[in-house]
């Protein structure tokens, strides 16, 4: 009987060591966190007085908006698409909020959801163009990036806004200003910004979504083999649009939080965050071919970048060094990852 023979041939009864993939991720993330520790150690050796909790808090604060955007980008990259427009969405959210609230006197409690909704709308626009008109996402979002920057210049009239110093003929109610500033107020004895808490909450939500929900499971499947997913009648179109919308919403939220922290809007804000955010996602182990990416990796990538940036600005050898490091770390991290993957494969097989 063929059945019994097959089972006899099987090397061992199929036991499921859920540990294998977990170990895989742990190794990958472990390497990243090792790098984070090594970099921190190097800075501390060079300049021992950076080793304090306030500095740690600053690193976490400065990584938070990059991390929030990177989490959204991770979803888009996992589903096998690219989004170049989140930085422009971030800037649009800030400027739209500033103009609605400070110039037109819309209550901040309404203006914030409106700014985020505007971001979501851009996400729908990106998603629909990519899925329905089948325009490559690189091109669509490159277009939206420029388009939104134009809209931002127009809406803000190329001006800068600060709710604490509104234009001469406008007033911002104190209660609204206090609420807005308190969104990222320092809490606890180490004056950790509330923005860090927002980042952690968002990371947990995105983590559950990506790694513990049907949504994330299918996102991974679609990113891994979009044609197979279509033939298996998985909801490819809807999920891709959802990924773009979530990315846009998270970019808008990051904008609102950063505005609350910095309190000054500029028309070109956010545009320069495009490549650092990409770098964080890629350093975190996501694959541009889709189907691969983790929340913990992306957070690690953002942390490593923030640490490098802050550390280097304290050592202040000049802005060129920061840029050079950003480039080197991006390539180095991916090279290291590929090397480790090959090592793991040759060992396990």
């Amino acid at each position: 009987m063929s059945n019994t023979e097959t089972q006899a041939q099987a090397p061992s009864p199929p036991t499921l060591s859920a540990g294998k993939t977990t170990l895989d991720i742990a190794l990958r993330v472990g390497g990243l966190f090792l790098a984070i520790i090594v970099v921190a150690a190097v800075f501390i050796i060079i300049k021992p007085n950076v080793a304090n909790l306030n500095m740690g808090g600053s690193v976490l604060r400065s990584m938070s908006s990059v991390a929030i955007m990177a989490l959204g980008l991770t979803l888009v990259i996992v589903v096998g698409e690219i989004d170049l427009s989140f930085g422009a969405i971030y800037g649009l959210a800030i400027n739209a909020l500033a103009v609605m609230w400070i110039v037109h006197g819309v209550s901040v409690y309404l203006a914030i959801p409106l700014a985020v909704a505007l971001g979501a709308l851009v996400g729908v626009f990106n998603g629909v163009l990519v899925t329905r008109l089948k325009i490559p996402s690189f091109i669509v979002t490159l277009g939206t990036y420029n388009l939104l920057y134009g809209v931002t210049l127009w809406v803000s009239n190329t001006g800068t806004f600060n709710p604490a110093y509104p234009p001469p003929d406008r007033t911002v109610p104190d209660s609204e200003l206090n609420f807005f500033v308190s969104l990222t107020r320092p809490v606890g004895s180490f004056h950790l910004s509330l923005e860090v808490v927002w980042m952690i909450v968002i990371a947990i939500i995105v983590g559950l979504l990506l790694h513990r929900s049907l949504f994330g499971f299918r996102l991974m499947a679609i990113g891994g083999n979009p044609e197979a997913a279509r033939l298996a009648r998985l909801p490819v179109t809807g999920y891709k649009i959802a990924a773009f919308v979530l990315c846009a919403v998270l970019a808008s939220i990051a904008g609102v939080l950063d505005f609350s922290f910095i309190q000054t809007s500029q028309p070109n804000t956010g545009l320069s965050s495009t490549f650092p955010v990409f770098a964080a996602v890629i350093i975190g182990g996501a694959s541009l071919t889709g189907g691969k990416g983790t929340v913990i990796g992306t957070l690690g990538g953002a942390l490593l970048l923030a640490e490098l940036q802050l550390g280097l600005s304290i050592l202040s050898p000049g802005p060129h060094v920061q840029q050079i490091f950003l480039g080197a770390v991006t390539i180095g991290a991916v090279a290291l990852d590929m090397f480790l993957t090959r090592l793991r494969k040759s060992r396990s097989s």
Binding site: P14, L16, A18, N225, A228, L231, A232, K292
Partner: protein
């Protein structure tokens, strides 16, 4: 031992703890076609990769015309012709032949006289200016051969070269293969088709469990002999045919599935057919006949007009829930970023693998994956290992199991055993038979009559977008008579539309 040709002595290769090749001895002589056969996972592909220079052996010696030889460094001596040509679709046929040997000039390279001669000899000279992407698969393969001949390759390795060709095209291909061998070159043919091995090879080496078990030649080289060497128990192959005989009495119930006046904008028109629970229906038809579109249309993947009904239901949404489709190639059904277990469950959703708030039922998924591995006889160490670590036959079982998990009333499969070894083939036929017996209808699109004979109850041929009358497979005692009838039906119908 020296002599003309390639000699392998004690060639071994291991991947981690798995021994892929365990001391292979083989002589490959110039001027003959040597067939290589073996079940998947037996080391056949590793052997081929070593000869092709894509892998280096751990130990053992290779010699070429008596001299030590390493195909990994002498790679340009070896040409591999794959079933899917590895060429440049954006270049013309002639450019494909030239690429890599353009010479040192800075201008645009021109086609040399020698290259032109090679292309003419292969019958693709008149197509030299055409874009490769616009050429048929047969032409693309010829281009690949021409490319190898032009760079004076000495060793030709054909890997399932005719699996996607029509009968005529593959006859011609084999004529070319013989011409190459007659020119004193070394030719290897790897295929699952036993008939081709017997007809076109002088000797056939059987690889099993990492060794060359035997080399068949002369009178000993028959399909039966190869089949017996490939599987330890030949009965597994004919088991499927026997169960069909037993089951054919079972189909007395009414139609489970039916289509009426089913039409596609391009591929087919006015098709009516039905299927009962317990039936396996085979669709046959050459490329372009509309048969592939027909089977896809049943899965709701093609826009069609007409009425389709499953158990009285006609709405698109509920039809989709009652059907599941398995594409012809595993590239279109498996997710390489997923484990075996995830691949098995990927088509499921709420409430099977996810509960409230779309939260995945992780423990349930683990149990389901484990039991699916057992139920579908998938040979894997764990359900968490990567899907690519499985052999082709086992990957195919995963692809089919994926669809079976949706518990479709109507299961649709395109070429369910393409590129699968005999043993897995028998297991897949059994899976399909069991599924039909459980009260479902199964429709398979086949390219080989043997598959129809072994797996199906009823066969339809699609010719020029229309169905021929159904053939009852149980009425045939021999596969040959079934093949004759199918060919006849195909020709009868083909004449009609041409006359009109």
């Amino acid at each position: 031992m020296s002599g003309a040709g390639i000699t392998l002595r004690g060639v071994s290769k291991r991947y981690g703890s798995t021994i892929a090749l365990d001391g292979v001895d083989l002589d490959i002589r110039p001027g003959e076609v040597l067939g290589i056969a073996g079940p998947n996972g037996a080391g056949k592909s590793t052997l081929v990769r070593i000869i092709a220079g894509e892998e280096r052996p751990d130990s053992g010696d290779l010699t070429f015309d008596g001299r030590p030889w390493s195909p990994a460094t002498d790679w340009h001596a070896v040409a591999v012709v794959h079933q899917e040509p590895q060429l440049f679709p954006n270049l013309t046929v002639a450019e494909n032949v030239m690429v890599g040997r353009e010479g040192g000039g800075s201008g645009k390279p021109r086609l040399g006289a020698a290259d032109a001669k090679v292309m003419d000899a292969l019958g693709i000279g008149h197509l030299r200016g055409r874009l490769l992407a616009d050429c048929s698969l047969a032409t693309q393969q010829r281009t690949e051969i021409a490319r190898a001949v032009a760079r004076e390759a000495q060793v030709f390795l054909f890997d399932e070269p005719n699996s996607a060709l029509t009968a005529d095209e593959s006859d011609e291909l084999f004529r070319e293969i013989h011409a190459i061998a007659a020119g004193g070159r070394i030719v290897l043919l790897v295929t699952h088709r036993l008939g081709d091995l017997v007809e076109y090879c002088k000797r056939v080496a059987i690889v099993r469990d990492g060794k060359v078990r035997t080399v068949l030649s002369g009178a000993a080289l028959t399909e039966e002999a190869i089949a017996r060497q490939l599987v330890t128990d030949v009965t597994a192959v004919s088991a499927a045919a026997n169960t069909r005989a037993a089951a054919s009495g079972h189909a007395a119930t009414g139609a489970l599935f039916s289509v009426r006046d089913w039409s596609h904008p391009k591929a087919f028109r006015g098709i009516s057919m039905q299927g009962r629970a317990g039936e396996i229906i085979a669709l046959m038809g050459v490329e372009g006949s509309g048969s592939r579109e027909l089977i896809r249309s049943f899965a709701g993947l093609e826009r069609c007009t007409g009425i389709m009904e499953i158990e009285g239901d006609r709405t698109a949404a509920s039809l989709q829930k009652r059907t599941a489709y398995v594409p012809a190639t595993r590239l279109l059904s498996l997710y390489s970023n997923f484990s075996v277990g995830e691949n098995l469950l990927v088509r499921l959703g709420y409430p099977d693998i996810a509960g409230f708030g779309m939260a995945l039922k992780v423990r349930k998924m683990r149990d389901m994956a484990q039991s699916a591995v057992k139920r579908f006889l998938i040979k894997t160490r764990t359900a968490t290992q990567g899907i690519r670590s499985l052999s082709g036959g086992n990957q195919q079982k995963v692809a089919i199991a994926q669809a079976l998990h949706c518990a479709p009333k109507l299961l649709l499969l395109e070429e369910p055993t393409r590129g699968v070894d005999i043993h897995s083939k028998a297991e897949i036929y059994r899976l399909l038979r069991d599924y039909a017996d459980a009260g479902h209808t199964v429709i398979i699109f086949c390219t080989e009559v043997l598959e129809v004979y072994e797996a199906a109850d009823i066969a339809y041929v699609v010719v020029g977008g229309a169905l021929t009358r159904p053939l009852k497979v149980a009425d045939y005692d021999h596969v040959e008579t079934l093949a004759t009838d199918i060919t006849q039906l195909e020709q009868e119908r083909r004449k009609e539309p041409k006359a009109a």
